[in-house]
């Protein structure tokens, strides 16, 4: 059942890479809308919120969540980006990597409710780096985490507050988000799936 439809899907909806599409553009849009509402509900409105996307693909997601919040609340939530490259625990294990943009909104993060936005939550190490990076930027009143996909296999005691989709995976699989702003298409794919 799995083996047959997959090639057809690849031919129709995947100009870029291999893998099986698990979320298409409409699924992603719905998930982001739900996350936006959950953030508002939890925060009791949009006041004092700051959205920080983790580059590269967390940033467009953060911007889309901000658009949805603006549509509902009529309030422009500050959006920025937070690069975690220099705070990674595997920095020494790989060749020096190019830095990605960090843009903290003009109001800063002090005493704000910061929502970190990332594409896929996996080991939790990126989020640990992000918490360290955030500490050097200021002292938020609270930090929350929104991710589009939670694929499990945490290696640190970290969990997400807002999850687009829980996706049970095996460790050999690779989960990849493509976004229209960077890759020209919105979708989440799984590569390296063991065919059963």
């Amino acid at each position: 059942m799995c083996a047959q439809p997959a090639p057809a899907e690849q031919a129709s909806s995947q100009p870029s890479g291999g893998g099986r599409t698990v979320l298409d553009d409409r699924d992603i849009a719905r998930a982001l809308t739900r996350i936006s509402h959950e953030i508002l509900e939890r925060n009791k409105g949009a006041r004092d919120l700051v959205l920080l996307g983790i580059p590269s693909r967390g940033v467009p997601l953060a911007q889309r969540i901000a658009e949805r919040i603006a549509a509902v609340e009529g309030y422009a939530v500050p959006v920025g980006s937070l690069d975690v490259t220099m705070y990674r625990d595997d920095l020494r294990l790989k060749p020096a990597r190019a830095l990605l943009p960090t843009e903290i909104p003009p109001g800063g993060v002090d005493d704000k409710v910061v929502v970190l936005v990332d594409d896929v939550l996996f080991s939790g190490r990126t989020i640990r780096s992000a918490l360290d990076a955030l500490q050097d930027v200021g002292r938020p009143a609270a930090v929350r985490l929104a991710v589009l996909v939670d694929r499990g296999h945490r290696e640190l005691p970290i969990r997400a507050d807002f999850v687009g989709k829980n996706l049970p995976t095996s460790l050999v699989e690779r989960v990849r988000l493509s976004v229209a702003e960077i890759d020209g298409v919105d979708e989440v794919t799984i590569e390296g799936t063991v065919t059963r």
């Binding site: 020096a96 990597r97 830095l99 903290i104």
Partner: protein, 318 residues
């Protein structure tokens, strides 16, 4: 493996643009409450200065400290170097102390190259100025300053931009490194100097040359004035300082012939009244102070890219 930064010619265009974009991120650190990044925690950077320097040494020290590296300053004065210790023995001492990077300034051209390739040290070597040869991080910070002002801070931004480098090219390691790097980045460089202050073999450099400052600067997008290095001059290279200033100095009258967007640069230290007048140095076109600020960001980028990972991301082979 790429480990050292000895010459501006070691950098490919991709390398150089990686340094510039990385430096851009490093510069934004200056606006944060905590001006420190953890990237080089536990690494040791030695500043080995055989020649006097204020801004370059301080700049490297600030850069290394902002990346959380440990810094050891090693100046020739007051050390065993003044007792006649050789470069080799000094290098072996540093190696024994476990330096991860050696930032070296030396009065002899080629000393950093010797240090890097002799097998005396395993650390990365960064050339912070050797004799009249090269000063690659100065070229990078100059390119970065131009890139911010003229290149819209994007890759390829200096393509076709015209840069005039004016003055004592003969004794200037800054001029050579700048000429090489700016060429790599696609800019057009014109060296302007009296014939006595142009080096032998300048025709093999990737540059134009001119003796006529007034003809060159109206077309330039950036004008870089060089200090007349009288301490390196034995004999007469020009008749009098006054005549030099009149023909090759940048004053208000010449500044008025520049295009509106043209910036005025100087690697420092300046001799006001010689190659540049005080009103030009303090004018709105002058980016001389900004060059110093950018120097820290660029040196952070270089140290990060050489030491931050398991192997360097830029620099020369071997």
């Amino acid at each position: 493996m790429k480990r050292h930064l000895l010459s501006a010619a070691d950098l490919t265009r991709d390398d150089a643009e990686l340094v510039l974009t990385t430096a851009d991120e490093m510069r934004s650190l200056a606006d944060r409450p905590i001006k420190k990044l953890p990237a080089l925690r536990g690494r040791t950077v030695v500043n080995l200065f055989f020649e006097d320097s204020t801004r370059t040494r301080i700049s490297f020290e600030a850069a290394a400290k902002r990346l959380s590296a440990d810094v050891i300053n090693f100046a020739a004065k007051g050390s065993s170097l003044s007792k006649g210790e050789s470069l080799k023995d000094t290098a072996l001492t540093l190696e024994a102390m476990g330096a991860d990077a050696v930032v070296v300034r030396h009065g002899s051209s080629g000393a950093p190259h010797r240090l890097a390739h002799s097998g005396w040290v395993r650390s990365s070597v960064v050339n912070a100025g050797d004799g009249t040869h090269e000063h690659p991080t100065q070229a990078l910070l100059d390119a970065f300053t131009m890139w911010k002002h003229l290149g819209e801070s994007r890759p390829g931004g200096l393509e076709g931009r015209r840069v005039a480098i004016v003055g004592d090219v003969l004794h200037s390691r800054v001029a050579r490194s700048n000429a090489l790097l700016l060429r790599t980045l696609g800019a057009e460089v014109t060296l302007v100097a009296p014939p006595t202050l142009l080096p032998v073999g300048v025709e093999s450099w990737p540059v134009e040359t001119s003796y006529d400052l007034d003809a060159v600067i109206p077309k330039a997008d950036a004008v870089m004035m060089l200090r007349v290095q009288r301490e390196r001059m034995q004999g007469g290279f020009f008749p009098t300082p006054r005549e030099y200033s009149r023909r090759y100095g940048l004053d208000a009258r010449r500044m008025a012939t520049l295009q509106d967007h043209t910036i005025v640069m100087h690697p420092g230290p300046m001799v006001r009244g010689m190659e540049i007048t005080a009103d030009v140095a303090d004018s709105a076109r002058s980016v001389i102070v900004e060059q110093v600020t950018n120097g820290v960001a660029v040196r952070m980028a270089v140290l990060y890219l050489l030491l931050g990972g398991s192997e360097p991301a830029v620099g020369g082979e071997e």
